[in-house]
């Protein structure tokens, strides 16, 4: 076991770099305060600066100007997905360690790395976390909770915390270890194929959500010979969930083809439900 007080990377020049404790602190402070003072103007900027305060105290103790420059460059605009995006924090930690110890790294380098990577990683992170992992775990949790059982929420809390923390910490350490090489692997062809495959899993789960969570049934009565019967019973016999599928596809069409905002779609759906209820269809 590596000692917490020993630097993780042994440098040829004998200078002492970041210890495991320093790194954990950088990661933890980012997690804790990344969005605290967010505004539309600065978003995650100051969260990054705040995570570097102990680092600044340790490595710039006798260099107030260097410290001010460090904290200022990490107060610039920054915005990415906070969990997958920790790979950027890791890469920047490696760069800042080098700068603090006098390596030949320009001080603009961390800023350009952050600016260049925050967009792509926000896209990657949002689609994996918000698009696939969270909805998949939630749909399992919802199915376990459908009779009101606490097993559902408890399953979600445990499984998500384990996965979420592992992703966040793993990406951070990976970024620190690999430096800029981490990005080549992340956006490389093989990992893109893997992403596509995980995406397929996400799409199937979304299909089950549409079938399980959208509930639409008509109250229309149609004549069966001399008697009246429910149209819904006939529909269920031919294609269960047909109305739910139609509603979902129309909603997707409004969002995707028409590019309407979620609020607009919400209003359209509400208006449509009111009209269809009033004419006695739903």
């Amino acid at each position: 076991m590596a000692n917490n007080e020993e630097p993780l990377v042994k440098r040829a020049d004998g200078k002492k770099g970041l210890t495991k404790h320093d790194l954990n602190q950088l990661w933890y402070r980012w997690n804790f305060g990344w969005f605290s003072s967010s505004s539309y103007e600065k978003l995650e900027s100051h969260g990054f600066a705040w995570s570097y305060i102990p680092f600044a105290e340790k490595f710039y103790k006798n260099d107030p100007e260097g410290k001010a420059r460090l904290l200022t460059r990490h107060s610039q605009f920054y915005n990415t997905e906070p969990q997958v995006g920790t790979v950027i924090n890791g890469i920047v930690a490696a760069l800042e360690e080098g700068i603090a110890l006098g390596d030949d790294i320009p001080e603009e380098m961390p800023t350009s790395v952050k600016t260049a990577l925050m967009g792509p990683l926000a896209g990657l992170g949002d689609s994996v976390i918000q698009g696939i992992i969270v909805p998949t775990l939630l749909s399992i949790g919802m199915s376990l909770a459908s009779n009101g059982s606490p097993a559902g929420p408890i399953f979600y809390i445990i499984s998500w915390l384990v996965i979420g923390v592992a992703v966040s910490y793993g990406m951070f350490r990976y970024g620190y270890k690999m430096g800029l090489g981490a990005i080549d692997t992340l956006v490389g062809e093989k990992s893109m194929r893997l992403m596509d495959a995980i995406n397929v899993l996400g799409i199937i789960v979304v299909g089950t959500l549409a079938a399980g969570k959208v509930a639409v049934s008509t109250v229309v009565q149609i004549p069966y010979g001399t008697e009246m019967g429910a149209l819904q019973d006939t529909l269920d016999g031919v294609f269960p969930g047909l109305l739910a599928l139609i509603v979902t596809m129309v909603t997707w069409w409004m969002l995707n083809k028409k590019q309407w905002s979620a609020t607009k779609v919400l209003l359209v759906l509400t208006a449509a439900v009111i009209v269809l209820c009033c004419i006695g269809f739903l």
Binding site: S36, S37, Q83, N199, I204, V206, A211, L269
Partner: protein, 274 residues
């Protein structure tokens, strides 16, 4: 005032589950965990001493908010206010899941978004102070203007409205629910079943990158609607399908040079536009 304690808990968790709140495990523990309606249902249920109904409300609300998205700081609906305000108010009154959905959507898309956007606009003032501190190399200044002051404001912005709404809104919601004409109750019930389509449509928007992938969407739909399978076996089947897909694309990538498939795709997409 019988709801004093539950209202207190709802207000507190409306802060703890917020995307910008202090949480020991960061956003992983707040926004993505405590902030989710499924989890909120458990907590609100415990606070009101009725776990089963709390969770049933939580599941219903979760379906609508399954694709709550926060990208670039902008959000389509404030999920934490929706969770604790909506489920809390429903639990304080009729405990009906369909009512919880309507209240959650109402709270999340109006009051919640207003408070959220107020904060996102106003905190620029604190950002400027934090930047000034950084330029002086003043770590304490950053802590005050990035952490302490914004957290106090956030706490007030989240705790006070939620606490007050549940404490004072109970009577109003009860009166409205008791006196609403049958048509209105019917519409609220139908809306509870239709609104999940919005969240699911938004998820489709993220994960479906090519129309051909709708095949997988229909596959999932059919497994549940016709196959009557539960979600858990479907996730296993989906994982196997995803693995086969990965193997197949790996083979295809090895067989064909990457350049030629790319240009064919580009031509196809162009033709697809019109």
């Amino acid at each position: 005032m019988s709801n004093f304690f539950p209202a207190l808990i709802c207000g507190l968790f409306c802060y703890l589950g917020a995307i910008e709140a202090f949480n020991p495990v960061g956003t992983t523990g707040s926004f993505y965990c405590l902030g989710r309606p499924l989890v909120a249902g458990l907590i609100v249920g415990l606070a009101f001493g009725d776990v089963t109904n709390g969770i049933l409300c939580g599941v219903a609300v979760q379906a609508v908010f399954i694709a709550n998205l926060s990208t670039g700081g902008a959000t389509n609906s404030e999920i934490t206010y929706a969770s604790y305000g909506g489920i809390g108010l429903a639990m304080a009154s009729t405990k009906d899941p369909a009512l919880a959905v309507t209240l959650a959507v109402l709270v999340g898309n109006t009051f919640g978004l207003i408070f959220y956007n107020l904060r996102m606009a106003f905190y620029s003032v604190f950002n400027n102070k934090a930047l000034e501190a950084a330029e002086k190399g003043d770590g304490h200044g950053i802590t005050i203007w990035h952490m302490i002051v914004p957290q106090i404001c956030t706490f007030l912005l989240r705790f006070v409205p939620t606490f007050a709404a549940i404490l004072l809104g109970e009577g109003l919601v009860n009166t409205l629910a008791a006196n609403a004409p049958e048509l209105i109750t019917h519409i609220i019930g139908v809306l509870g079943g239709v609104l999940p389509a919005l969240g699911i449509g938004m998820l489709m928007n993220i994960v479906i990158k090519d129309k051909i992938q709708l095949v997988f969407f229909f596959f999932g739909f059919v497994l549940l609607a016709f196959g009557k399978l539960d979600t858990i076996p479907v996730v296993f089947i989906a994982a196997v399908v995803a693995y086969i897909y990965y193997l197949a694309t790996s083979k295809a990538a090895a067989a064909a040079p990457a350049g030629s498939t790319q240009s064919a795709d580009a031509a196809y997409e162009d033709a697809d536009l019109f």
